[in-house]
Symmetry: C2
Subunit: 415 residues, 2 copies
């Protein structure tokens, strides 16, 4: 009964926009949020609202790169040269003494070198004669194993640019440069509305005809991955309930994400209610599979700020793809970052039949030497999720084209 | 003064182990933690301790894939065929009626199809004649737009395997299958010890000879990225202080991560103190750059449980690389997952000189069609971090080999 899997539901209606057109509209229409100043140690993965210039040089002071001896010598140093030992400088101490010719000081990695230092001998090439004298056992040139002040960063140098994401490495660098607070774009306050009479809210609520909710947990996990919290609301397919909730949320949140109720069925209330509440439609329906009936709309509030609404269909695969592509893009733009993350190119390991809509397929990507190869997984229908246990990427298959093995496609990694 | 950047400090001492040997020792020696049962919605990125078999079939019941009409017809349906309309089934409702030949019921996406249904007509090909009669406007075959019960998952089917990470997609699938709790390996309780008299603990504490701490913020951000919290302790290079703290932590935490004080300098107390406290050394010093003086040790406690200690050097680049390679691997193994994540292969865009130690270089990876290409960044020294603003990967450059443009190297993405 192979033909039982036939789905005719959604061909390519005329007039639908493409994925790229939808993404362009998001970039064009979405206003970024206000700027706030926050502590650097709470700023992971936020986006900078200003360039950051260094207030200090790095290294802050010239320092030893090794455990050894700082030396003052007029020339390069021959093997067997003796130096008189006049003291010790540990990391964290101030270098208050000054070396004269022929003098040495015990020094440790990261400790400031004293005035008069011409080079540093690592301890492996130093023999201690007595408490007051050391011998260098190898030929040593000038200015070895010294980290010069300012050799990495000078005062006033650009450390990080406006729009840049504060990665782990960025947090570490800015910390090292003494930065304590940063100006970043606000992260939106997000409300999530899961619609559908078929969604069981709990095990107790479960009964024939209902299903367990995949979309709420999926969306919650997606924001957890981003270290962000959201508020989730489950509601029935009832126009008045939807209207009252959306009205309320649109005044309190920067962003409303909905699942389900966004197509043209008799009980699809999201779009008519949103329009009724004053939302302006930016786009509705995208020529893609899964996820065709998708709505993006904006509400300009009395204080001239905006609330955006992304209405995803109710099928969980459409929600998954919608989050990865559209939600991520909207979040980026709200935070001043007009960039679609994580894209790769790869060769198909098999041919693919033509489809009227652009498809986003769950695939597995791997390596053949330095060449990326992707292969499709079974169970791609929009109500199915089980192949996400194997999938490590989503791949865009262009509309109206059959593809051959070896053709290059674009995709992005999923985690 | 180009020669001023010379660093002689660390050649390849004989007897050091390689990165692969160090990773193998971690996999071999680290015992996984105990198993705990937790709510699925708190289990993102944890590792399953058991296989999970589905207790339900998916779809749970045969349902419509579209908004349309469920029909009972003995044959394929010709255009202009009429059906008598006997009711409506919404998503979430029970399908209590039974269709007889020639009968139709209004139905919506996800609603259970009633007994007797032979196919579903999407609403786009249906004309409503009156309240009791509809006409099909296109030829329609049997069993179209029906999602069959169990077509994705059967009762008892393996949904997820022991050892598998609970990704966003996995959480969504398990939710859809009605799974509420999962058995996972415990996440270790981690204490982080930042050593070094040179580390300013605060702006107020800042004075000549000291530096701003990059390692604490780096490690904190790294665990934030994993949605995990840690406890951080800053201590001075004093044997008694180090001993007292490590003793205390080794009884309370599964894992102690230290930075600094792990080499052979006069004030490097981590290793002698750990050994003194009963830790067994698994390895010390790895033939790598950055991060040669690295310690991995274990303490078997009275209750036969283990505390592990990973001692990283104090240089921030060594800490960054150590976290990405070693800390990640230890965390994986502690959670029953013997897998080193995120590896890619790429072609070098330039030649590289030989080095006695394996190097881990901060690089930028990009695409030439489906082929990954990586190029090195400047400022690779172990006390420098600024190239992490551009880097998107770490690449392993084998020891003792010069490489040419086009040679294939292995690396992993950083975020």
């Amino acid at each position: 009964m192979l033909e039982s899997k036939t789905s005719t539901g959604c061909g390519a209606e005329s007039g639908l926009i493409s994925i790229d057109q939808a993404l362009s509209l998001i970039l064009e229409k979405t206003q970024r949020l206000a700027v706030e100043s926050i502590a650097l140690n709470t700023a992971l993965n936020r986006y900078l609202a200003d360039d950051i210039f260094s207030e200090i040089q790095l290294p802050l002071f010239s320092q030893s790169a090794v455990d050894g001896y700082a030396l003052n010598s007029v020339d390069n140093i021959d093997s067997h040269t003796h130096f008189s030992l006049i003291g010790e400088i540990r990391a964290g101490q101030n270098a208050e003494l000054t070396l004269q010719a022929g003098q040495a000081v015990r020094i440790f990695t990261g400790a400031p070198i004293p005035k008069g230092t011409t080079t540093v001998a690592r301890q492996e090439i130093v023999q201690i004669i007595n408490n007051e004298c050391i011998e260098i056992t190898e030929i040593l040139t000038a200015h070895v194993d010294i980290r010069d002040e300012g050799e990495e960063v000078t005062v006033g140098q650009l450390l990080a640019e406006k729009g840049q994401r504060l990665s782990i490495g960025a947090i570490a660098l800015l910390s090292m440069a003494g930065v304590q607070r940063v100006s970043v774009y606000q992260y939106p306050k997000v409300a999530v509305v899961i619609t559908g009479d078929e969604v069981a809210k709990s095990i107790e609520d479960f009964q024939s005809g209902k299903i367990f909710d995949a979309n709420g947990p999926l969306i919650q996990a997606w924001f957890q991955q981003q270290n962000q919290s959201i508020d989730i609301f489950h509601i029935e397919d009832n126009a008045q309930t939807v209207k009252s909730l959306l009205h309320d949320l649109s005044q309190k949140y920067d962003f409303i994400l909905t699942t389900g109720g966004v197509s043209v069925g008799d009980y699809d209330f999201i779009r008519p209610v949103a329009l009724d509440l004053g939302f302006q439609q930016i786009f509705w329906k995208v020529k893609q599979k899964p996820g065709k009936p998708m709505l993006f709309a904006e509400l300009k509030r009395e204080d001239l700020s905006f609330c955006y609404l992304l209405g995803l269909p109710g099928n969980p695969a459409a929600v998954y793809v919608g989050m990865q592509i559209y939600m991520q893009t909207v979040l980026n733009v709200l935070q001043g970052h007009a960039y679609f993350p994580n894209s790769f190119k790869a060769e198909l390991t098999h041919s693919l039949k033509v489809d009227a809509r652009e498809r986003i397929l769950r695939m597995r990507v791997g390596f053949d030497q330095a060449t990326l190869k992707v292969g499709s997984l079974s169970k791609q229908q929009s109500h199915m999720l089980s192949n996400l246990m194997q999938a490590n990427c989503l791949v865009r298959i262009p509309a109206g084209k059959s593809l051959n093995e070896g053709d290059v496609v674009q995709g992005f990694l999923i985690t």
